[in-house]
Amino acid sequence: MISSLERWNRRCPKSIRRNDVEDFFLTISLMLGFLVLLCLYRVARGPGIFNRIIGVNVIGTKTLVILALMGFLYKRIDMFVDICLVYALLNFISTLAAAKYFQRKGAK
């Protein structure tokens, strides 16, 4: 009796073969992708601009974690971790800029 992971490892090319922990990472990435969809609903339908800013901020942080996990899946974490760092900085700056732009009376 072979597991689905072993069957996958037999078929796929060597570069994307994965062990148990990386299989767990793939599951976590898919779950985070599903949670991104839930946050996207808040961005699309959220009452007011501030709910949308918060939704975008949460999506950015989730994307950062997904990027780090994908670095392990593609076995290029030394490259992906730099992209993660840049993404964290950009997410923070864009959130601050949006919050500062809408900081006035009556901006709903």
Binding site: I54, A68, C84, F92, T95, F102, K105
Partner: protein, 78 residues
């Protein structure tokens, strides 16, 4: 507020620390820990900026019994 303040900060922090432990001690793990430290500082700051902007725009948080919460903890019933 809960979304960006608690779940975002702590969730990403613990995930990244776990990934750093999985790599082992190397330059990559140090970089991942640097990202974790940055998130630990930057995410509450962003939450604070959003809430400050929302209070300045006179957006009141939702409450169950309909009372209005103003900035600085003061409450005013409608």
């Amino acid at each position: 507020m809960h979304a960006t303040g608690k779940s975002d900060t702590l969730g990403a922090l613990l995930s990244l620390i776990g990934l750093a432990l999985y790599v082992g001690f190397s330059l990559v793990s140090i970089k991942i820990l640097m990202i974790a430290v940055f998130i630990f500082i930057a995410s509450p700051t962003a939450t604070h900026a959003i809430l400050r902007a929302a209070f300045d725009a006179e957006v009141t948080p939702w409450t169950k019994d309909g009372r209005v919460i103003r900035e600085g903890g003061g409450e005013k019933s409608e």
